[in-house]
């Protein structure tokens, strides 16, 4: 029983970061309408940024969080302006090929620059744990969980309370009408894409401590985020958090209870994705 609860606790703590990354993906899909295969590469950049600052300057990853947010926002904006905007009128196949090409390019650029090794950012508090009765909570996963929830809450407030957030939701609902009301769709797209990248960048810093930084770490999270978004329903931001919880809990259960489950954890996201699509195919005519 204690093992089960500890497992569920671990899954719960991981779900925060999953939700953060997947929300970014859902934002670019729902608002901009682009299937961004390169979403995880913003995460990968955030992770390497954190690693570089830590290794070269001894900078605490807590400071890298803000830096990564700004840097990823900037890179995301540039990517939107330079690559995404020109293909928005193109067929969907071309859009997907472009973001896939960007993902391949960035992953292999990182491979050339840093090699395939995994690098962990290990500040003094990395291994700190809190004891809660019979259970253990890692201080870093707990902090990442709280921070993710905080960011998602801020995003929710932004989308429901601010004029810009309302404009973003308006553009997501209808491509034409907001333009007639004086909303510059293009600038809203830019903001949404930058924001999506920034969320991934922050998550990358957290993962550089919880997990590691490596050229392929972002790619794994792109796939997991797609599974979460497919489960939640395309562009449905509210469904992302429960869907992230489902995936994280399923992974935690597999890694604890399946013999030799350590490697098969990486297959759980596919099961979630596949079942979500089977359900969707059944419901659609």
């Amino acid at each position: 029983m204690e093992l089960l609860l500890q497992t569920l606790l671990n899954g719960l703590l991981m779900s925060g970061v999953y939700a953060l990354v997947a929300t970014g993906l859902a934002l670019s899909l729902g608002v901009v309408g682009i299937v961004n295969f390169a979403h995880g590469e913003f995460l990968m950049m955030g992770a390497f940024l954190s690693y570089l600052f830590f290794a070269l300057q001894g900078l605490d990853p807590l400071f890298s969080l803000g830096l990564a947010f700004l840097a990823a926002f900037l890179v995301g904006g540039l990517v939107y302006q330079g690559l995404i905007r020109p293909v928005l009128p193109a067929p969907e196949l071309n859009q997907m090929l472009l973001t896939f090409g960007l993902s391949i390019l960035l992953q292999n650029l990182a491979l050339l620059l840093f090699g395939a090794d995994t690098r962990v950012v290990a500040p003094s508090y990395q291994a700190a744990t809190l004891t809660l009765g019979p259970f253990f909570l890692g201080a870093v996963p707990l902090g990442a969980f709280m921070l993710s929830l905080g960011l998602l809450f801020l995003l929710q407030v932004f989308l429901t309370r601010s004029r810009l957030g309302l404009a973003m939701r308006a553009v997501a609902q209808n491509r034409l009408a907001p333009g007639l009301l004086g909303i510059e769709a293009d600038q809203v797209y830019l903001l949404a894409f930058g924001l999506a990248a920034a969320l991934a960048g922050v998550a990358g810093v957290m993962l550089s401590v919880i997990l590691y930084a490596s050229p392929t770490v972002g790619f794994i999270f792109t796939l997991k985020s797609f599974a979460i978004v497919a489960l939640a329903g395309l562009g449905n931001l509210k469904g992302v958090v429960p869907a992230a919880l489902v995936l994280a809990l399923a992974e935690a259960l597999v890694s604890t209870y399946l013999p030799g489950g350590g490697g098969l954890v990486e297959a759980v996201f596919f099961l979630v994705l596949f079942l979500a699509l089977v359900g969707r195919a059944w419901r659609s005519p």
Partner: protein, 305 residues
């Protein structure tokens, strides 16, 4: 008639590949035969990817079909001989395609793209973990026909290229082309016109996956060794899609031209760049989508008026 004008080019390419082993190439002969082998195999992959793309679907699972065919053929070849093993490998790939397609092809196109990428990633994980694949250690594969004929692998890959070209030409010249084009341009309109959209997409995917599976099987018999990282590499899918996009989508000539140029270039570049050569493919993909969406063939076509 436009399609027919490509026929002399096509026949020239195929004839060149058929005669390559007999040309007086001197000391470069062995190297060029190797390059020719990979050009034929990956061009066949590219043609099979294009077959799926003609219905507007982005397949990122061609690396998975390649790997399924490679492992299917490699596991069976010691017991039943070369050709039955290759056919079995292709059927395994086809079964994977049917499983993937029957669930996702009813839905919006992006679901298929996402699921196909996830499919290829999860198969690599499974190949690493399952007992009968040899896991990370890998799987030794016997050479074709017991190794009695040194050119066997080369002509097997030529056969796969011929099959892929024939399939692609058939799809280009028969009414199937119209069904594919209608599906690609607007599924709703195609449905109204009486095209069985899901069936067209599923058939295209099945045919494409069979060719990709055959390519994988022949690949294993050439390299004589398979590892999950090699056989299920995402790089295969990247090659399979960059070649037609670079050469020119939705045609038979485009992937052929693209294959000769890109795979030839890759084999040459690999002498210098060992790891991370996919950077080149990523960059080509982005540049071509942005600036040359009709590919090399489109460029030549425009020049000639």
């Amino acid at each position: 008639m436009r399609e027919l004008s490509h026929l002399p080019f096509l026949s020239f390419f195929l004839l060149l590949f058929a005669l390559l082993p007999f040309l007086p190439l001197g000391i470069w002969g062995a190297f060029l035969l190797d390059v020719g082998f990979f050009i034929q195999l990956f061009t066949a992959m590219a043609l099979s990817w294009d077959l799926v793309a003609r219905t507007g679907q982005l397949s990122l699972a061609h690396g998975a079909f390649f790997g399924l065919g490679a492992y299917g053929a490699g596991l069976l070849a010691p017991h039943v001989g070369t050709l039955p093993a290759l056919v079995f490998g292709a059927f395994v790939a086809g079964a994977g395609a049917l499983l993937l397609g029957s669930v996702t092809l009813r839905l919006h196109g992006l679901y298929f793209a996402i699921a196909s990428l996830a499919f290829s990633e999860v198969l690599r994980t499974l190949a690493l973990k399952l007992a009968f694949t040899g896991g990370p250690i890998g799987l030794p594969v016997p050479p074709p026909f017991g190794g009695v004929w040194p050119l066997a692998a080369y002509y097997l890959s030529f056969g796969v290229l011929l099959l892929a070209t024939a399939l692609s030409l058939w799809a280009e010249w028969s009414p199937f082309r119209l069904a594919q084009a209608a599906t690609r341009q607007s599924e709703a309109v195609a449905r109204v016109l009486g095209v069985r959209v899901v069936r067209v997409k599923l058939w295209s995917l099945l045919l494409g996956s069979l060719v990709a599976g055959l390519s994988g099987g022949v690949y294993g018999m050439k390299t004589l060794f398979l590892s999950p990282y090699d056989a299920f590499s995402l790089g295969r899918a990247v090659e399979a899609l960059v070649i037609p996009i670079f050469g020119g989508l939705y045609s038979t000539l485009g992937p052929l031209v693209g294959g000769v140029v890109l795979v030839g270039l890759e084999q040459a570049l690999r002498l210098w760049i060992k790891e991370g050569y996919l950077v080149v493919y990523g960059a080509i993909l982005i540049l071509v989508i942005l600036f040359l969406p009709r590919g090399l063939v489109g460029l030549l076509g425009r020049r000639r008026g």
